[in-house]
Amino acid sequence: MMMAHGIDLLIEFFYLAASALFILSLKWMSSPKSARHGVWAGEIGMALAIVGTLLYRGPGGAVLHYRWIFIGLVLGSIVGVPLGRVAMTAVPQRTALSHAFGAFCVTLVGIAHYYSEVPDLPRFTMAVLSAEVILGSLTFTGSLMAAGKLQEILPQRPITYRGANVVNLGILGVAVAFAIYLITNPGHTAFFPFIVALPLAFGVLMIIPIGGADMPTVISLLNSYAGLSAAAMGFVLNSKLLIIAGALDGSSGFILSVIMSKAMNRSFTNVLFGAFGQVQASAAGAAEQRTVRSATPEEAAGILSAANKVVIVPGYGMAVAQAQHKVRELFDSLSRRGVDVKFGIHPVAGRMPGHMNVLLAEADIPYDRLLDLDEINADFPQTDVALIIGANDVTNPAARDDKASPIYGMPILDVDKARTVMVIKRGMSPGFAGIDNPLYYLDRTLMLFGDAKAFVGDIVRELSGSHH
């Protein structure tokens, strides 16, 4: 290592403090009360890391060439500000895009490192450098594709062909083979471009067969890969700070994808091995024509205003319709009438972990009204009305009762235990899982057909009308 002068020791102390601050930053995310301290800790840590790095002296005590560093920092900030100001609904694609940026940086540094050191690369360095470049490149294109699908620039629907998995894994396998060869023969520069280009191709091909709706799980996995590539860079540069930040980020992505796959009742290997594209068995076709009862906004308003306890269950439809502000009005209006209104939040409602919480928080609904699965399920038997707004799969009782259902075993919100169930959705089309929902045919269920935003708005109007 480069530990001649006191300045290097100082830099390492900056890095030590930055690492501790990053850990605190994530620790403080454990509760909304301390979470903003977490952001500050992260910011201070990042500032220490950057300032520490700028202090670095090369051999002979030469300071760094600052010019292009500052140009890069300024341009990056200019790009970053609008990326921090996107609408809340664009958060999934923003997240994907920023994984792409992170992976881009890692890959470029890896490539530059290779060409400036070659052939003077010890085996261990070459091995971790290969890991850095391979993970970086596939995360780069994979995340760009994911962002494109989520932003609907690319077609959302999965494009599959026979043998896709074999071809994809083959491409990755060849890249790994080149990397293994390079470990003992780093001087073969002609081989290096392959361990960049092939993973770039793999990243694209990996995402093509995956439907837009499966992107959140993919994004979390890519998050994990991005973290691991940064950790690999840490191994190359022997920087403990990078290893720590990368490992923290890697575990974060990994845990979120585990949580998602558990809540969706998918096996984790199914997720890990990228079999997202599998066509889901649709039981909807065979469903006999059963009858549903529907109601008008006026009737719904009447039932709601007569209730003592209401639980609102939001889902992807609320996000699509951008109905959260109308939902807030409904919440206010009912609360003013003395109705006890809570929200039941399923861990995979929407299309992103925590999706509903952010939208409802945006609409100023206090977070202590947002209860998760375990907390709210005990409440449903004492609930007068369960009002479902654009949610579907997360309320499907087949997951609990019907062993033949493809989602059997997925934990759900027991809305069917409430006295009355009301469901706002536009029609009878299924949700993400593509299956029919027996909830809609229950006697206690009323369908409220319409766009979530418009329908909730109508209910609010009825409530305030009858108020006067």
Binding site: L26, S30, P32, K33, V39, G42, E43, M46, I50, T53, G58, L64, H65, I69, G72, L73, G76, S77, V79, G80, L83, G84, V91, S98, H99, F101, G102, F104, C105, L108, V109, A112, Y115, S116, S220, N223, A231, F235, N238, K240, L241, L242, G246, L248, D249, S252, G253, I255, L256, I259, M352, P353, G354, N357, V358, A361, E362, P366, D368, R369
Partner: protein
């Protein structure tokens, strides 16, 4: 050689710690968590700064500067959006003593 070992020890500890810490993150905050880790992950800017700063060749300077731009935009954007999201989370109780532990 000792570098490898040290790095592995640090990596092992950081992975364990990552698991323990992330598992405790409130599900309420999973979306801000994703954007916060985005920002933290951009720590790779350190590698890019060293690359540009050493100024070995035009090639490394160009690649490194692009890297700095990409990573910095993640840092700035990631922290801004995380803070924006967290600012929205409000409790209806005025920070009273919560029951139990």
């Amino acid at each position: 050689m000792p570098d490898i070992i040290n790095a592995l020890f640090v990596f092992m500890l950081a992975c364990f710690l990552g698991f323990e810490v992330i598992r405790r993150v409130s599900p309420l905050l999973h979306t801000p968590l994703m954007s916060l880790t985005n920002a933290l992950d951009a720590i790779s800017v350190v590698g890019a700064i060293l690359l540009v700063g050493e100024g070995k060749s035009t090639f490394t300077t160009v690649l490194g500067t692009l890297g700095i731009i990409a990573a910095t935009s993640n840092i700035v954007g990631g922290f801004i959006i995380t803070d924006r999201m967290l600012k929205m989370f409000k409790s209806s109780r005025p920070a009273g003593p919560s029951a139990g532990k």
